[in-house]
Symmetry: C2
Subunit: 183 residues, 2 copies
Amino acid sequence: MAVSVLDMSMSLDGYVADSDDYLGGVDGERLHKWADDPGTAGQFQEEWDAAGAVLSGRRTAELMDHWGGDHNGNPIFVPSHRPPAPAARWGYPLVTYVQDGIESAMAQAKAAAGDKNVQLRGGAYTVREALAAGVLDEVQIHLIPVLLGRGRRLFDVLPAEIELEIVEVINTPAATHIRYRVR
Amino acid sequence: MAVSVLDMSMSLDGYVADSDDYLGGVDGERLHKWADDPGTAGQFQEEWDAAGAVLSGRRTAELMDHWGGDHNGNPIFVPSHRPPAPAARWGYPLVTYVQDGIESAMAQAKAAAGDKNVQLRGGAYTVREALAAGVLDEVQIHLIPVLLGRGRRLFDVLPAEIELEIVEVINTPAATHIRYRVR
């Protein structure tokens, strides 16, 4: 049975990107610098390879030009109340806009993933919607030892408290990698 | 030489208290529940005992009624541009309001601490001021596996990025305890 996973690199002060959607720092990639180390990144390769579909917030999908039409070969589901923009209406057979809510989008993504996982991609709005609808199963945070001081937060206001369970912690000098199960 | 330490329990979504200054959850203490376990709390007792003075934001100091006049016997320094309220003007010999800035308050707190440490107590404003002035040496975060969804954040907007160094990570089921050195 597919599980849905949110995998994000976050600064200690809660940001996943700076205000211009770069990933922080002088080179614009501060939050992903940890993944330059093949040994560390290798520990997460198995998880990344386990993805069989992506559910992406619309803003993220559009910022990424829909990853060219698929996400490493996997289909992409975008929950949105508005119809897709022209690029996504034309010729992206693996991109599906879902207009009847995030539960429906996740059900379609899980069906497409089969026995693989669904990767959630998105900013605060999509994360909040997924948490509020109860369709996010796991959260993998790469907590980066930096205070960015400003930018786009991963977690927005929620309608209620949500308990997590710590599943695994991997310590490296470049990040504290914590995997949670959503209760 | 005294070091200054900020020791806080923070939810994964960055909150250190709910909007009413409770520590979250049904019993109002969700963020400090981890400290109920004597084994876990014992690992931090040495650090807490190493405090020789407290530098507290004014709001925190006032919410706590200045801890009755001292913090476990230690003197309390409160940086504030305004003069102290009546309770702190009368008869609290160990409470010192410092009106010429947080650098001065920290220098006085370190002098009072001698070879012990200065504990920083405060919300986002005081943390930001201390970081911006470069007077915070270490950050001990107890990262709690819960999304509170709303409340008071520990980290506010900063004038610049600040790099941290991971000094130690202690994993328990109730929290991920990460100690950072401020670079």
